[in-house]
Amino acid sequence: MKRKARILEADEIHRALVRMAHEILEHNRGAADLALIGVHTRGVPLAGRLAAQIASLEGSAPPVGQLDITLYRDDLSEIATQPVLHRTEVPFDVATKHLVLVDDVLYTGRTSRAALDALIDLGRPRSIQLAILVDRGHRELPIRADYVGKNLPTSRNEVVKVRLYEVDGGEDQVELWERP
Amino acid sequence: MPRTAITGLRREAGGSPHTLYLEGPTILGWDLDLEVSATWDGRGGLALPAFTDPHVHLRDPGQPHKETLRSGLAAAAAGGYGTVVSMPNTLPATDQPEAVLSLRVRADALGLCRLIPAAALTLGQEGRVLSDASLLAEAGAALLTDDGRTNEDGGLLRYGLQAAKAAGLLVAVHAEDASLRRGGVMHEGQVSERLGLPGNPAAAETARIARDLEICALTGARLHLQHLSAARSVELVRAAKRAGLPVTCEVTPHHLTLTDTSLLQLDAVYKVAPPLRTEADRQALLAGLRDGTIDCLASDHAPHSPAEKEQDLLAAPFGIANLELVFPLLYSELVLKGAASLEQLTGWLTSGPRKVLGLPECTLEAGQPADLVVMDLASERPVDPERLRTQAKLGPWNGRQLRGWPALTLYQGRVVHG
């Protein structure tokens, strides 16, 4: 694979998250009954960062959970390598909450579909919204994000690589790579 | 009688090629330069007198899904055997003179290998009523035995030995104490306890051998102990022979080459009676063979159908079919690995068993029967079950690369294998 372009630098990622935090608060008219759920792997630190932003604006952080959607994937009977399972930890009752599902990249929409199914199995939330750092298009399901850090038109043979210091170490960045 | 010749034969490993001349079923002599009606090419193979096996199961009559005279004797020919002794655990048991005669006549008609049937020591091998030793001897029985079963009634064995002695017959015993063996399906020890399989302790064999040696001493009759499996058994026989008892014994190729750790594969092809025991037992059996305590090899060829051997270890029957593999297996595992010489191995397959059975020794000299095998000591190939003549295609050595295959077997001057 070869690298094509740097899409976002660390400070741009930070500014995008600040803006998304504002939008979430505006849309939900504050942080009451709000909870964030990060999708493994990079959605988890992004949810934490959004919660911290919301806390700095509102004074208190919304509860944060983490969700592993592997058991809800629709391709488990077809894949040749076994995904490692991560813990799902949602330490609050989802039934009373407006949930914001957080992930790094929105592409076909299949991960978000799986996440929606998983969330609904945890209870009956009042609403579910979707926050995405990079929306690269090519949806295969009728899913759209409510909050987007960056809209990035891509082709299918390109790969969006998100690097976050909590998971990957080093500097935050988003890059576009191309498959041969 | 037609005269034939086999060219390109070696009389010892590495020797120069010679030609052996035959007339009908008899050897005329070496390098005679005579007119012959047919010639075979020995291709530089080693000529040996055909082997003798004191212990095979041919399952005929009664269990044609396991083996028949035809398939079993064809396997014997392919293994280089010229004489085999079939066990009487047939259906019905071979306990009547007519049954012995019938087997001999049928085998003669096949012309593949000489069959000397063993007859049952007791009627139906049920251990209750002795069979007619003198009449069975007259019919040509090789020996008397209840092999396949054990001799639980020591008193009956005593009278059986006395009657056999009077009739000039040998008695062979499968020496295992059934009450100590219980339901054991493998050697009792670390491996059986790890696998949770019922164990058969070595003491089942040694306790029975100790009893039978006492009965042998009591009667002075010729006793042959079949298929020794335990180190302690060798010690008991060594002491008995030193004391002058008329006892002989045999060992199988599988007890010389396999141990109970094979059962870790949980495959019933390794289920055999007596069971494969430990490496120490295996070494003691080899030592016993080398020092003459053990008189000969016996295949204990015990064919079962693939469906029978594909069952679980409790349900599958005991027995390994190996008649075609004895020489290549032991040549590869013992001779090539330095545990025995080629001369020792051939002795254990020819003069050893013939002495036990009271048969004249065979050589490849003029006037001797033209029963011989030509060994290609250089030939190396994997055991291919599809090439085996026995019907028992599942065995421990399938796929194993072995060296030293019989290239040509002649029985009564005719090529029966090759």
Binding site: A80, Q82 | R194, G196, L266, D312
Partner: protein, 307 residues
């Protein structure tokens, strides 16, 4: 992991991986909707040639919790009674398209035999006196939930060790995880020559219990005690039955395990019913999570890559 027949070739990390997956499954089992779609499209077959309602139910529920289709094959009502061989039975099941077979059989080694003919993953649900690996995994998982780490712990396995597949699988797995296993029971129900690292055999219950961190009481079949092996039911109860005062010898924090179903007043005294040290129901719960984890490990990601 292609099959789960026993613990041959296993290392501690293999068990830890499975336990980590079982943790995820345990969380699923705590949800309002105790079901995930992970094994949609897979068919799991339980082929029980020996009865065991509990084990079969646990495997089937585990498979259903993951949305697999489940078919069960019971020898009693099947063609086996008509003389069909194990091989033909297994090949027939595979031809029907099952993706995994859980086998239970009365003969040690039968699970290996099934694997030879199956061509699909096989889980040993108990074969003869040889192995019952998911039971040992759920036992270890239960202990791990209490202790975090099994290293240095002393676990007494008590009863008819000789005929127990549960004991055999535990004495393979627990030492692998660093625990010391003490086998205890009447002399004729103990192995005579078994030895290994972290393994001790003792016919004396009191000394075995001293300093024990957990006691696993095995099911003792009355038929064994009536089988002339020199130990009667009264003698067994007097010498080896686990009761409150004996468990007290191990201590107030000792854990009590039993693979079930329990013969009360045979291997275990009624005065231990409801004892806070008993983990029996936790074991049942752990069994579901472990079996879900095993199914996940054996089925997901095993699709052959297109050539």
């Amino acid at each position: 992991m292609r099959d789960l027949l026993d613990f041959a070739g296993w290392s501690k990390p293999d068990a830890e991986d499975l336990f980590a997956t079982a943790d995820v499954m345990a969380e699923v089992l705590r949800r309002p909707v105790k079901r995930v779609p992970a094994l949609q499209g897979f068919t799991v077959c339980t082929a029980f040639f020996e009865n065991s309602t509990r084990t079969r139910t646990s495997f089937e529920l585990a498979a259903r919790r993951m949305s697999a289709d489940v078919v069960s094959f019971a020898a009693g009502t099947s063609s086996l009674a008509k003389g069909e061989s194990l091989r033909d039975t297994v090949e027939t099941l595979v031809a029907m398209g099952v993706d995994l077979i859980v086998v239970r059989h009365s003969a040690s080694g039968a699970a290996h035999l099934v694997r030879r003919f199956a061509g699909v993953p096989v889980i040993n649900g108990g074969d003869g006196a040889r192995a019952h690996p998911t039971q040992a995994l759920l036992d270890a998982y239960t202990l791990r939930a209490h202790w975090g780490e099994l290293s240095g712990k002393r676990v007494v396995i008590l009863g008819d060790v000789l005929h127990s597949r549960v004991a055999r699988s535990n004495l393979e797995l627990l030492p692998l995880l660093g625990a010391k296993v003490v086998l205890c029971g009447p002399a004729n129900l103990l192995p005579q020559s078994l030895s290994g690292p972290n393994l001790e055999v003792s016919p004396d219950l009191d000394s075995a219990l001293d300093g024990a961190d957990a006691v696993m009481a095995l099911r003792v079949q009355r038929e064994r005690l009536e089988g002339g092996l020199g130990v009667s039911l009264p003698e067994y109860a007097a010498r080896y039955q686990l009761n409150r005062s004996r468990l007290d010898r191990a201590g107030p924090r000792a854990l009590l395990l039993h693979p079930g179903p329990m013969n009360r007043d045979v291997e275990i005294s009624s005065d231990l019913a409801g004892d806070p040290r008993s983990c029996v129901l936790e074991q049942v719960h752990a069994g579901l999570a472990i079996r879900m984890a095993v199914l996940y490990h054996l089925l997901v990601g095993k699709k052959e890559r297109a050539a």
